[in-house]
Amino acid sequence: MNLTDLLKNKSLWVKQETLKLHKRAPGTRIASSLSCIEILVVLYYGKILSCDPKNIQWDTRDRFIVSKAHGSVSLYPILADFGFFEKEELKKIGKEGSILGDIPDNSIPGFETINGSLGHGLGVACGVALALKRKNLNAKVFVLSGDGELYEGSVWEAIMFASHHKLDNLTLIIDNNKICMLDYCKNILNLEPLDDKFRSFGWMTKIVDGHNIEQLYYALADLKKDESNQPKVLIADTIKGKGVPRLENDSLCHIKALKEDEIDKIIMELT
């Protein structure tokens, strides 16, 4: 099987598993977790991230900071598949004694930091990226953030810091699904043109279709190799609630949960 097919198959499997998790734990943010699935699949199964589940704190691992924690429940099946924790845990989500809650935290093996509150990931990632440089480690730092999260002022403090300190070992991936909790971002405070904003702050900027496996893979592989002395941002244009027609294009999809019987039908129809 070639890499593209493998990544496509894995994406489908992660989508199914994420929907099953949502069926067990209706408090999970399903729409937001569906928009970043291809990004997560390319990072892990495309081997963009160097990680070792048997040695989680391995010094030269790439650090992956999931700043949009609410919308990253789709990382649970991937981490279980890689062996960060037992697959049985997926069945216990949200139950007493489980390690998996509606919003991930770093007591779950594979999560580096704690991000239930938005706007923290990039700043901490800047500190980590600076530390790796001082330690002369070649490891990279990846951050996944939502676009709505960019409203937090602390994110822009970090954006300025990263380019001033030439943190070229840092890549921010924006899951640009264009919807916040209550509305489209363009109706709340327009963030566009986002790429121009980052460029003017001194960042190397790329835009891809965030559901296109090949575009994501080549962009991330290129950014990882790049030595231009700049921090990098990949703006991945995505659809919030991707794969579930009634969520896609619903400005309130962030807070919508799917019904149990509906989920089985959606899983059957996934391609």
Partner: protein
Amino acid sequence: MRNVQSEVKVMRDALIERLFCKMQENKKIFLISADFGAPALDKLRENFKDRFINVGIAEQNLVNISAGLALEGFIVYAYAIAPFITMRAYEQIRVNLSLLSHTRKINVNLIGVGGGLSYDVAGPTHHCIEDISIMRVLPNLMVCSPSDWVLTEKFVDFSINVNKPKYIRLDGKPLPRIYHDPEEFNIENGFHELVQGKDVCLVSTGYMTHKALNVANKLRENNINIGVIDVFLLKPFNEDLIYNLLEKYEHIITLEEAFINKGGLDSMISCVLSNKASHIKLKRLGFGDKYVFDIGSRDYFHKLNNIDEEYIIKVIENASNNISRRAWNESKGTYKKRSSEAHAYRP
């Protein structure tokens, strides 16, 4: 005789000088500033260009960058003005220090310069009378409040070795030394009995310990011996250890440049007394439920808020009068000594 003048120092200078020495021998130490400096910092900035970073006027990022560096094993001092590092960045402290250190070891030391009313004339935005209460609330975070520059130096050594997040509250004014041989006690005990007294004891922190000592000295001239306990580690706190000291007194007066009845030093002592079902009387001195907008010196603010020396002496006088009256009643006239002492309390 010691030359008192030459022993006056600003705590932040003592901290920076000590850090300068430590940074020479320990390559893991970083000092991160939110565009806040001191003349003493210039040499450090020059000598450790790769380990001194100015993040700009951005306290939220100051805490986040510090957390990131500490996650990778560095020992970080995050340096800013006390009200801004604690209150502007409170949620960063909660999430990336307090919560994160539940699972990861991180040595971040938040250095807040200008606790209490250090920046007296600067006005209410620069006064810092909330910090003790709000920082004490957070689990996993140590709260240190040294009363002089000698203890401040000791806290530098302590903080390098203790791999936890800490808030270190420094006064902003030049102050004389209180401690001469801090090696004689364990800093982790959290407090030190500076003056052994009888009946009444002042329990204070930071700048107010200087006031407590002034009051104790004045009263001693009239043969009145009150105790003074300096509390410099507000969290964690050894309840049994301090109660062993407190229980020999009949009246405790807490003294702090902070709001009272809101979780500060007063609440901490009140909890100890309550947990021990103690009958010791407690009087809390500090700031009431309002901000100070008046312009004036620190002493002027103290007068306005009833924490000046004169008022403290009055409170002690009342306390000892009550103690002797009660003792008189209990002993039905057989008690003499305390009664005569009570008269001497009147200055």
